[in-house]
Amino acid sequence: MNEMTPPKTERAAALKGLGSARKRVEDARFTQGKGNYVDDLKMPGMLFGDFVRSPYAHARIKSINADKAKAIPGVVAVLTADDLRPLNLHWMPTLAGDKQMVLADGKVLFQGQEVAFVVAEDRYVAADAVELVEVDYEELPVVVDPFKAQASDAPVLREDLEGNMEGAHGPRRHHNHIFTWEQGDKDATEAVVGSADVVAEEMVYYHRTHPCPLETCGCVASMDKVNGKLTVWGTFQAPHAVRTVASLISGIAEHNIRIISPDIGGGFGNKVGVYPGYICSIVASIVTGVPVKWVEDRMENLMATAFARDYWMQGKIAATKDGRITGLWCHVTADHGAFDACADPTKFPAGFFNICTGSYDIPTAYLAVDGVYTNKAPGGVAYRCSFRVTEAAYFIERMIEILALKLDMDPAELRAKNFIRKEQFPYQSALGWEYDSGDYQTAWDKALKAVDYEGLRREQAERVDAFKRGETRKLIGIGLTHFTEIVGAGPVKNCDILGLGMFDSCEIRIHPTGSAIARLGTISQGQGHATTFAQILASEIGIPADDITVEEGDTDTAPYGLGTYGSRSTPVAGAATAMAGRKIRAKAQMIAAYLLEVHDDDVEWDVDRFVVKGAPQRFKTMKEIAFASYNQAIPGVEPGLEAVSYYDPPNMTYPFGAYVCVMEVDVDTGEADIRKFYALDDCGTRINPMIIEGQVHGGLTEALAIAMGQEIAYDELGNVKTGTLMDFFVPTSWETPYYTTDHTVTPSPHHPIGAKGVGESPNVGGVPAFSNAVHDAFRTFGLTHTHMPHDHWRIWKIAHDLGLHG
């Protein structure tokens, strides 16, 4: 090393690579109001679209009269299914292999369904016109209960499927049945359950809710008739998939479609699907020849686009007397609403719900999921979780608690007794997954110690005694969770959406002066990709993260990828980034060796440069190599320094965590104060601890919302009872507790940098932690299980039903 070379550690720190709590590059524009969200777009001549929506959950449409609406000055068009039929766009394919009405074709199947699309010069005029479209409905019997939907005399909801008993995922056994999906060994599991020492059985319902990002869904479609190009700016979590699907259903050649996801104001799964507003805006732009903007309002968002969960999970968990789990049986009735629009990989109509054996070594298991149509909004998206993983985690973490009650065993001890042990990885689960790595016991011990678990149990017991003596009206609940996620879909061999393999990609160009641009097939919705992907690259190619621009979301410039959801960006696109970086480094090595006049094998990588082995004073920095790559003729080496990687992961990644929630529950008011929340996450290699911590805080708060009050509720007529932020619970800073975060690091053995993904873990693990705390507060008074969300009234009702109100 010559005198001018700073030490390794100093050079590494200057890169702000892996492990650096680098401040976010996105923040400069967002803190100054200079973000560029879809509703900020304004174009010459732009029109506004707005929907006429059904007030009924199930009704036949006898007629639609738009004459009065069209008579208002400024109204340009009113589209109905009849206008879309000649284009064959009155229905569209869903991501789950079903189809969905774009505009009501003969009947409506849920409240808020799109019936007609008004196009006007101004959003106020469009809203006026919506009011004046006259739709004559004939009400039909409504089915909101997925069990009643399967009765032999239940009304036929999907008349378009009548007589078609073969669905996208196998046979249908009833006119409102969508699919049955089975995993595991039924006979063996039933035998184990039938002969076990102890069996705990329960119906665990995970209620319907909604991702509700602060920015709703929307788009601006612009058909340029001069050059035949369609550009759509929109809130798309998967812009390339949208391009391909748009091409397939519209017949417009894919090279003539450009999809741009600008800044996205949160997604959480809401922005994965394809919605009628996108199709209608595109058609309206083609018809009118000018750009058309459609942005849904909050009520439309909550009523019509992308619900989540709604799983009725019947479970049986079998164990020996001393608490060794021997089998798990589960049957799910999945309420998919009026159209099966779940965003799951094709072969997984219930997502990765078969991760429901959780963190435990359960030798025998069986799972069956029945998807059912009802008169509710379509969706079934993964709300801040990998596909149906949060349902699975909630199910197993409730079943464990219920089993602990039955065994009269401490639930922490029961978990520890059944963990998959460190030496069992890679672990084959009874329901078909190969868990990549984990060290559950270490995480568990750390968590219990950090919260002084034994001390908490003592305090809880003392509190129960004081309550019984009439000295207090507050009980303490200790909510435990040890969850295992499955993210990073996924290997193309078994994961695709509508036939599109779920690889992802990164393309890097190094500029002659040694800075770089990287483009990816993913799209940030707040995760900070521009910050963290630059960090991965900085460590791989020795160029400071500050000198690397990261771009995503424009299908004309970014390489093809399947987008951002299911915590797949870091496991898949992050891996592609590292691999593309390694290609750059391989070429840089040849260039460096040439410049240093040694053999390729005689140089070695040193943070930000190649040095001659044994002669560290002889080196070429990446900056020098970049310049030479463009400007020096090197025999046998193409000019330039670029690389692209399409990464097909060999396996999913399996992040895990241990959470403890300590809650004080007021028996008389039903209020629940979160006194402490400790979250230990193991997401493998940590790229940016600041961003990880932020993701955990946010995911936990969404979990708090879901567990403690947030739901999309319907009455018996299919009216949405929680269609605004007045009724749909989104916690404020006031209700949200302080979180303590912690971590262990168990790298993924198959990911190039060992990272596993973290964005969704806190939602997956948080919901059972909050819910278990509520249950735990009442466990000594005989509560086995009660349904979420645990709002004040429901908690009060628990206490009341247990006779605690005297």
Binding site: K23, R24, E26, D27, A28, R29, F30, T31, Q32, G33, K34, G35, Y37, D39, D40, K42, R123, Y124, C212, P213, L214, E215, T216, D263, I264, G265, G266, F268, D297, R298, M299, Q525, G526, Q527, G528, M690, I691, E693, G694, Q695, V696, H697, G698, G699, L700, T701, E702, T724, L725, M726, V730, T732, S733, W734, T736, Y738, Y739
Partner: protein, 163 residues
Amino acid sequence: MSKMQINITVNGKKQELLAEPRELLIHVLRERLGVTGPHVGCDTSHCGACTVDMDGKSVKACTVFAAQANGADITTIEGLGGPDGLHVLQQMFKEHHGLQCGFCTPGMITRAYRLLQEIPNPSEEEVRFGMAGNLCRCTGYQNIVKAILAAAAELNAAKEAAQ
């Protein structure tokens, strides 16, 4: 619909425009004046993404008619920074990772700007209560609260130093 003459000052600049009586301030700002920092996140005044400062008070611009704002002095996120650079709150939100998707951030910072004038040295509890009209779906608020407390400390230190 007949239009009314509206005179407002936005971020120090006088603006004259014609607006329908039913037109909301948020739409006048965003669509007529191109001030797109404040956002629309709900229809019911719950989310606070549209928060602006009107005559020294935090208001939700989706719940104010442009006509009600006639003659008012309005500051939005775009008007908080000065010629010397960013406002301390803007710096602290970045420093403490008080934002993720950024959609709530303009309203959040604009509300915090007023909160720190109402309560210059707030406790954590006062910040949590004072910010409860602004929803964030990404951060869980912890780092927002941290950023606001840090900004308060910095502003107070600067004030003390000036005295």
